[in-house]
Amino acid sequence: MWNVIQCAVQGRSHIKSDIPCQDKTYSAIDNGTHVIALADGAGSARLSHYGAETVTKFICSELTEKFDAYFADNDGAAVKQQLIKGLLKSLTETAKQLNCEIKELASTLLFVAVKNEQFIIAHIGDGVVGYLKNDEMKIASQPENGEFVNTTVFTTSRDAIMTMKLMKGALGQIQGFVLMSDGAETSLYSKKEQRLADVLKKIMQMSTVISVAKVQEQLTQSFENVIVKATTDDCSITMLIKKNEELQGYLQLSTVQKCKMLQVSTKTNKRLIKRYDDILVRLSKKQSLPQIARKIHLKSKYTKKYIDRLYGLNFIEKDGDCYRTIVIMDNESKKMIDKYNLFEWCQRSSI
């Protein structure tokens, strides 16, 4: 099973000129197929946010329905043609409803579809498709910008089929996928080194040990407070992350595994690890620093060092002056979180 995290945030220039966020993300699960899609509406196209929404929804529905047929077809050009045909058809319908020309709905498009042990990736325009394999972030498809930074290819462009990238394969050791728009690219993809920021790996791994809803909430806050400040453009991201079915909660881990999660040496004194365990257990109920210090019989200034580390690792969250554990602690909390995640998933994907 796979988790989905996604967010799209309106850029500073669009806030200033009262233009809606033209980045759209969408996801779907059906027929054992998970699909995530992201589209960035063309800046000059008046209704491109509708176009972005149309193509993300279309592609999610198309791939959940026909994944096997697309995967089985070894003629890449035919698959591209079929996808473009479908995209243009859905855009034509939207154009009719909005009484506009199809070019007013221009956007980029990135998607990943996964079924059983197979995947399909496609990419039109700029933005980046990446994946996590053997704990390393890799690039599947780079931005297609042409010579100048404010030019790219769109779903409605004549050369969309020529520049469209299409990939398929076996998942193997792939642990997750990420799609991002060019706005997010500014902060999360080094153009010179053609490398994705390491923090994406942290987010993907984090989503296997804390609730997806919590990761989603923190990711949105990060985008609203950090990522949008690095650009004037809209910023969006969506991730598809393999669930860690083996994880039964932090408390069930061996000391070595806990050390790895806490990012401390495996030679660390067991008493120290026990201290972290103790704090995490006690913080299952919201408490302030003096309260927790009193309970673990440690001065506040020393307790704060443990708290700061756990906070930095996103194992606990801050709410005013209080802290609360968010990492999955045991099987019971995992079950509750899984149930909650499913509920969240259904709400977000409208199924």
Binding site: T108, K202, V226
Partner: protein, 254 residues
């Protein structure tokens, strides 16, 4: 809830701001010393730039107004939070020869604008060719360093008729029009005064006519130019930056 963030500034990659390379290709021939306003003839005459001129005292010369306009352009770019990091300006002057008086660099490093002096003939072709060469070189530097960039701009300002090498002029016109037609260059040819050769300026601009500056409205032109740079530096893929036609009316005859 405060600061529960997965991403912190230190986690982000640092991509350089995409650049807008702008080349100001300015006529500094003798005729740019022409004066408007109240002035007194000294009785002396001088032959320069293909004609005889009366030497006067007082008044305001075209070159002084151009100098002020360029300085104001820099000031406006410096005050723009986006353009200050994206605009990169190079100044080429052409009189009897073409000279790069200020090479491309980040605005913050270009502290002093060189003083412009009117002297000699109007080697426009040589000036434009040098400008195109330097724009090409700058683009290559961006590519080598992994810096994204926007379509380069060439601003060509002259008050006279080109009288440099004819072959160089034709080569400059061919190169410019080809680049404009291939959407590789934005060109702004601007005529100054009544003696500017608008038909030559038009031949540099296949997509829109050259514009004629109203009187000495250099400052209005450069204010408009800085706003256009600011708009471009914030444009996103698919966003064609439209020229502010109403803004043009403030400084040019259409």
């Amino acid at each position: 809830m405060d600061n529960n963030m997965l991403l912190r500034i230190e986690d982000l990659v640092n991509n350089p701001t995409p650049r807008v390379p702008i080349c100001l290709c300015l006529d500094t021939s003798g005729s740019m010393g022409a004066v408007e306003g109240e002035c007194v003839a000294t009785g002396e005459t001088v032959y320069e730039d293909g004609r005889t001129w009366n030497v006067v005292t007082g008044g305001t010369s075209r070159i002084d107004e151009l100098q002020k306009g360029v300085e104001q352009f820099y000031e406006a770019i410096r005050e723009d939070e986006i353009a200050v990091y994206s605009a990169e300006i190079c100044i080429i002057t052409f009189d009897s020869k073409a000279t790069c008086v200020l090479d491309f660099a980040n605005i913050e490093r270009q502290e002093t604008i060189p003083e412009l002096h009117p002297v000699g003939d109007t080697a426009m072709g040589e000036g434009v060719n040098l400008a195109l060469d330097l724009l090409e070189r700058r683009k290559q530097e961006y590519k080598d360093k992994g810096v994204d960039y926007y379509q380069p701009w060439l601003v060509l300002m002259t008050d006279g008729v080109p009288n440099g090498d004819v072959g160089e002029l034709n080569r400059a016109i061919c190169r410019t029009t080809e680049m404009v037609n291939q959407k590789k260059l934005t060109v702004f040819p601007i005529g100054i005064g009544n003696e500017s050769d608008m038909s030559t300026l038009n031949s540099f601009s296949p997509k829109r006519p050259a514009l004629k500056l109203q009187g000495m409205k250099f400052q209005e032109f450069f204010a408009w130019l800085s706003k256009s740079v600011s708009k471009t530096s914030q444009s996103t893929p698919g966003e064609s930056v439209k020229l502010d036609v109403d803004g043009i009316k403030g400084w040019a005859e259409l």
